[in-house]
């Protein structure tokens, strides 16, 4: 990494941020990812995902911290962070529910599944339950079209999910 002047500016932003401290393990993981690519910027998305795995989302202070590790500008990290739908720039629930809203699931019961989940949790897309347990989001075709309607809870993919199975399924995630 180049030890240039702009890098020092980023460092000062990181330390003056919202008290965010990049975990040592995460810093090491980001540096390891960086080595997979010709240029450090390429590890940006993975770096955001590493931070998100620990915190559940990407706090404001993580942006300059990641920028500093990679030696890139904070604006380019923020630009990336706000582009990708699976990077969360505000707090989310412990479990993120992604419901596939694409054509095959639309034909096989997406509306009913969404209604069942909304009724069970009292939240709609983009919202988090008051107890911080679930966040509900739509997602691009999950590639589970042969078993629609499909959804993910955290890392787990389910399908088909009949509306009457929703309550039981959600109980598995505390």
């Amino acid at each position: 990494m180049n030890d240039n002047a702009s890098l020092n500016i980023h460092s000062s932003i990181a330390s003056d941020g919202d008290g965010f401290v990049l975990h040592e393990e995460d810093r090491a993981a980001i540096l390891e990812e960086r080595d997979h690519y010709e240029q450090p910027q390429a590890a940006c998305i993975e770096a955001l995902k590493i931070v998100q795995r620990r915190h559940g989302w990407v706090p404001d202070g993580a942006i300059p911290a990641i920028a500093e590790v990679l030696g890139v500008g904070p604006a380019s990290v923020e630009g990336v962070a706000t582009f990708y739908s699976l990077i969360f720039r505000q707090p989310v629930g412990r479990h993120v529910i992604l419901i596939c809203d694409s054509s095959s699931c639309f034909l096989t019961g997406f509306d009913e599944l969404r209604e069942a989940i909304t009724a069970e949790l009292g939240i709609d897309f983009g919202q988090t339950t008051p107890d911080g347990r679930f966040t509900l989001l739509p997602v691009c075709c999950l590639g589970a079209c042969d078993r629609g309607p499909a959804m993910m809870i955290g890392d787990d993919t389910f399908g088909p999910v009949p509306p009457e199975a929703v309550a039981e399924l959600l109980k598995e995630y505390s």
Binding site: Y84, L107, P160
Partner: protein, 456 residues
Amino acid sequence: MTSSPASLRYHSQLRQSAAERRAETHPLTWRLREDGALIGLEEYVEKEGYAAVKKVLGELSSSDVIDTMKEANVRGRGGAGFSAGVKWSLTMQGGDLPRGYIVCNADEMEPGTFKDRLLLEQQPHLLIEGMILGAYANNSCYGYIFLRGEYIEAANALARAIDEARAAGWLGKDIAGSGFDFDIALHTGAGRYICGEETALINSLEGKRANPRNKPPFPGQSGAWGKPTVVNNVETLCNVPAVMQHGAKWYQELSGGLSDDGGTKLYGVSGRVNRTGLWELPIGTSGAELLDRAGGVKDGRGLKTWLPGGGSTGFLLPEHLELALDFDTIGEYGSRLGTGLLTVVTEDQSVVSLTRNLEAFFARESCGWCTPCRDGLPWTLKILQSLERGEGEQGDIELLESLATDLGPGRTFCAHAPGAAMPLESSIRHFRHEFEAGITHRRHAAHEDPIPVGEV
């Protein structure tokens, strides 16, 4: 009866029994197990795995491999249908040029498409072998598998397979004693359909926003970090080992006269049928044969329309079921083969609502780089929503038609907007009466009583 959570878990599944699948006829799936379990390195090698690498590396030249691929005419299985061999012949190499990259596009997000997931989860070594051969042909020093972030099981399978392959000497320095060096890293995405567009994918790989790039230069001239880069779909690359092992003539003959194209295709059916699924069949198999394998239309309803290969392909009618599902044939009927996974729509489904669903997808997934796409798609969606509610006005259909033209090929950097235009144009062409039924206001009615800002 309520299903238990465990039974609701999704597993990718091929609908063909092991008895039906043979090495001579099913290059993509003959190794797959009846139980759908992951094929590890040992089993893959036992089943002729990495034989093509041994045969090719150090024995044939890069141009030999490209010539064979051109002759086999493996057309891009990501949906564009461009010859992989021709693409490879356009990758710049030789002289003082630096070695570049081979990138596998495993960002499967096309609505209605679930084929690459099967290959990634159950047979990752076939993809790795295809990438080694592709790297050898394109003189790539390093490979990336660009995998969508939601494919967790595939990520685990690939990570394990890459480690196994490296430990066994199929990746790394001097592969199989050939003197050829090549390695692969798994790169997982973070959402956004546009990452599947090959130049947007390269930007995303570089850690940038996934906006498409201008072409030319094509990735084969200047791709990832300005180096020659070849991007191929998972299924395309998985065809390479068998082509190199058995030859172009054998591959061509797999389609058995059903098509001018060679090989097999991972076809699938989803939507309103009795038995959704995936099948590896000769390319050129008809939609009727697929619908038959899928047990026919659900609940004995009538077939209204179908998409031949994902959300960015044009609607076809029941009369088109007899057509050969190959790139050239389907292209003659105002649609595209796309990914070759059918979405089946029954007579009770409103086409306006389904088109609204598709356009909502494209509007949301536009990266915002080009004006027709960024502004035209939300406008399209707004009109479709009003027609769906029965609140359309005269002129809406003509407006949608002009939008379909303005979103078409040549108006934007990439194929996202043209992909959105195709189902829009074809749905109106085939089902105009359904759109007309949503018109209840006369022309410009919406402008007569302005709604104050803030009350919308």
